[in-house]
């Protein structure tokens, strides 16, 4: 917000005596408070930070035991890629993420829509959601391991559970906020209930549903790593945990960077969805 301090208003010198004929220009005091997209700035911050970090490591200011240089982390990443293990870890993680996220979001949508449309369903679902949503799902993981086994089942279930609740809440609140005049309009033109839901309620609730999806996606990445850290042979979480146990901080940084990229990719995908479905908002 550097724009604010550079308003020209402060620079105008006060005239010595008001001149009746020429008058005094009205000094400008508006403007500012309108952030504009500056794509390069964000990139530059990254580049500068990484360069400083690299410089610090090379000059010995930052001990390589505490924090390895970015180049070392990149080296560890390339080792991982060349050994073929990158794909093994990534595919294991992606599989869990996709299955857990897709099932959690779909179920959340179904239950959320039911709660949004039917009083009985709402009365049944919302107290349950309020009671279970605040439980950190990681605390349930041991239970899931007993129920679904140490393999994929328990990890997928953790992610599914984590996505389900925010999705239910986002969906029914989005449906609550649908403009009722649009629904009355549908009724006044004798649209059937199914048509009103499909053509009016759900499209109108889509912005809220998609922002719920965004939250669910972040939660599912957190839970993915947590579940993989507890018991998995392959997966980014397992890789990061192993690196930590071996004090291989370069591998650890590489693993964390992969997670960051994963999160960015998921976010980007959801933004693409939003642009596609919500183009009418702009």
């Amino acid at each position: 917000m550097s724009d604010i301090s550079t308003q020209p208003g402060q620079q105008t010198p006060a005239p010595a005596a008001p001149d009746a004929a020429s008058g005094k220009p009205v000094s400008f005091r508006g403007g500012g408070f309108a952030p504009k997209p500056r794509k390069l700035v964000g990139l530059a911050v990254f580049v500068v930070l990484i360069a400083l970090w690299e410089l610090g490591s090379r000059s010995g200011v930052i001990s390589s035991l505490v924090l390895p240089a970015p180049s070392e982390a990149f080296g560890a990443f390339m080792d991982l890629a060349n050994s073929g293990n990158l794909w093994r870890h990534l595919s294991a993680s992606l599989q869990r993420l996709v299955i857990g996220f897709a099932c959690g979001v779909s179920l959340g949508l179904i239950f959320g829509t039911a709660a949004g449309l039917s009083s009985v369903a709402r009365a049944a679902i919302t107290p349950l959601v309020s009671a279970i949503f605040p439980i950190p799902k990681i605390a349930l993981l041991p239970l899931f391991i007993i129920w679904f086994g140490i393999g994929e089942g328990s990890k997928v279930a953790t992610i599914l559970f984590g996505c389900f609740f925010p999705m239910v809440i986002a969906t029914y609140s989005a449906i609550d906020n649908v403009d009722r005049t649009l629904i009355r309009m549908g009724q006044s033109f004798s649209l059937s209930r199914a048509q009103i839901i499909w053509k009016i309620v759900l499209p109108a609730a889509l912005p809220g549903i998609l922002s719920g999806t965004r939250i669910a996606a972040s939660i599912s990445i957190i839970l993915l790593v947590a579940a993989e850290m507890i018991g998995a042979e392959y997966g980014i979480g397992a890789y990061v945990l192993l690196a930590g146990n071996l004090m291989a901080t370069d591998q650890l940084i590489a693993g964390v960077a992969i997670l960051s990229l994963l999160g960015l990719t998921v976010n980007w995908l959801i933004s693409r969805l939003e642009n596609h479905f919500l183009g009418w908002r702009n």
Partner: protein, 255 residues
């Protein structure tokens, strides 16, 4: 098709909003309903179209709806009620979709109403790109597309600025002259009432009952702004409503 209201009373819980209304909306005429705010005008309209059930009395459709009418009682809403994610054409198509029309028939109806409301050039626009007046013209086009027997208009021009309102009033007069439609037109604007109404129904404040029904026999085409008869009529209506409006204004909202 005529619409007749018989001994209609309506309550919200114990609050009486309408009392013993008797009224006929004859075929081919525009009946304007005016009254102070909170007198139950909008409730009356919702009852007329079956969006609400009357507590007492009944509303009757007399005669058959015209052939080809898909939705005999059709609303035009104050705030347009257009789907923001659909184009102009898509918004009109929405109300034709439930009726299983052939693609050609749908296209014919859409093209026809767009032409009548002078919107043909804006088929692919989305509501966000349109001004308030254009949005209401789309809503009117949508209402005309189902070939209604009675148009139920709920303060259709109240969300518009006064110049746009004038333009739309001319449009409505034009539409009516080209093809007379039956309408119940709710408004709080006396000028709209005397410009568009063949009959003006004056409701009292809550509980709304009919104070007076004024017939206006000047043809719609001659009702321009400078017509002195209209000005006198508007003044007369205002005097009728003034005290009511003032009392209504000072009332505390209940419920």
């Amino acid at each position: 098709m005529d619409l007749r209201v018989e001994n209609l009373s309506h309550f919200y819980n114990d609050l009486e909003v309408l009392r013993d209304l008797n009224l006929t909306i004859p075929h081919g005429e525009i009946v304007c309903v005016i009254g102070p705010s909170g007198c139950g005008k909008s409730t009356l309209l919702r009852l007329l179209g079956g969006l609400e059930k009357p507590s007492k009395g009944q509303i009757l459709q007399l005669g058959e709806a015209p052939s080809g009418s898909l939705n005999p009682l059709t609303y035009v809403f104050q705030d347009f009620a257009l789907l923001p994610w659909r184009t102009v054409e898509g918004n009109i198509s929405l109300v034709l979709e439930p009726h299983g029309l052939s693609a050609e028939e749908k296209e014919r109806r859409i093209a026809d109403v767009l032409e009548r409301t002078r919107l043909s050039d804006f088929r692919k626009a989305v509501p966000k790109q349109l001004s308030g007046g254009m949005k209401q013209r789309v809503a009117i086009a949508r209402a005309l597309a189902v070939n209604p027997a009675v148009l139920l208009m709920d303060e259709p021009l109240s969300a518009l600025d006064s110049q746009t309102r004038e333009l739309l009033m001319d449009d409505l007069v034009g539409l009516w002259q080209r093809e007379p439609f039956t309408s119940c037109y709710i408004t709080h604007n006396l000028n709209e009432a005397v410009r568009l109404g063949h009959k003006v129904v004056v409701l009292s404040r809550r509980p709304g009952l009919i104070r007076e029904i004024v017939d206006i026999d000047i043809p719609l085409s001659e009702r321009d702004v400078s017509n002195p008869k209209l000005a006198a009529l508007q003044q007369q209506l205002w005097e009728m409503m003034r005290d009511e409006a003032q009392t209504a204004d000072m009332e505390l909202a209940t419920g």
